[in-house]
Symmetry: C2
Subunit: 203 residues, 2 copies
């Protein structure tokens, strides 16, 4: 396809497509004449990844590059590659501390595997400190409410990974982590609304 | 307590506390002498709400004011007040469209109550359009994966609301929506990690 069609199908303006090519984030098209290049489905898929990360989730360009580098050259260790890719997503928390007491206690309570280098540990610790500061509960029962629900969701999300080649698995994991998050949060708010309305009607 | 103790216990610097007072977001302390005012637990609770919204979740000051106004003068209609308060939280989506075809289809599929004015409808629609653009599944089975989990979580979250006075209920709902979100998302990532590690070990 021409660059104009690539732009139209991806929703990314032509000038931005050219910018990504100049920056090495998107491969050049195949030159078919002095003034025209041909683009394929690979270009379209790549543009969608970039757009999802930068436009939808608002990742800074440096972080988008980081994710693309992991997709392009995944290490031999899938868990590490996936961990680093997901670690490039927000929220960005200061990881200058080397212990995460609240997160570690919560992870132990939930019986999850603990790897202090995985960004989500720092993210959980920060989130739990915010609860504490605001005076909201983080009792074992409250933690299990979220932990059990997420474990079930995660198991279903990971099912399609089996048998995927690693680069595709990294793309799926990063996009899935980034793009199902807002779906889940919107549904949580809608569920609150639904239950409150039902409750009011019952009275 | 003195302003210095209020600052220490809330983690909010004295200059910022004074700024919130000048801006009318925090009531003045009770003057006990020409140079000293006394602050109470109400001040501390209020500061924690402001800090949670502005520092932890990064809300702009105008949005924090909006939430505080709803807490201070909740309308007679709890569902509306809660809806407006939660609508002041991110993600902020353009609500200039008046139909949300993807969200409406998803909500119908999940059997939830539909109120087009509730911000979460627009948020869900935007999130589903992003999935579509990135080529990720939003089949009924996928929607139910998140919808069922969130409905269960929401029911447990709402239980403490019963019997709370409305201003306290609004505070709880807003803080709970804002501050349990990052906990849940971090736990989802940890659950992925846990399951991947277990899966790799099993091979």
């Amino acid at each position: 396809m021409k660059i104009s069609e690539l732009s139209e199908r991806s929703g990314v303006p032509v000038a931005t497509v050219k910018f990504y090519i100049r920056e090495g984030m998107l491969p050049r098209g195949e030159a078919v004449s002095a003034t025209r290049a041909e683009y394929g489905d690979g270009h379209l898929a790549r543009l969608r990844v970039i757009a999802a990360l930068s436009d939808v989730r608002g990742l800074p360009l440096a972080r988008v590059r980081e994710v693309l580098a992991l997709i392009d050259a995944p290490s031999d260790e899938p868990v590490e590659t996936l961990g680093r890719a997901v670690g490039a997503l927000p929220p960005y928390v200061a990881s200058d501390r080397d212990d995460y007491p609240l997160a570690r206690a919560a992870i132990a309570e939930l019986g999850l595997t603990y790897d202090p280098d995985f960004t989500a540990v720092a993210q959980l610790d920060e989130a739990l400190r915010a609860l504490e500061a605001a005076g909201l509960d983080a009792t074992p029962a409250v933690l299990r409410r979220y932990g059990d629900a997420m474990r079930q969701v995660a198991a279903e999300e990971l099912a399609p990974l089996a048998g995927m080649p690693l680069d595709q698995a990294v793309t799926y994991a990063v996009l899935g982590t980034a793009l199902y998050e807002p779906v889940m949060l919107a549904l949580r708010r809608l569920a609150h609304h639904h239950l409150l309305v039902a409750d009011t009607r019952d009275r």
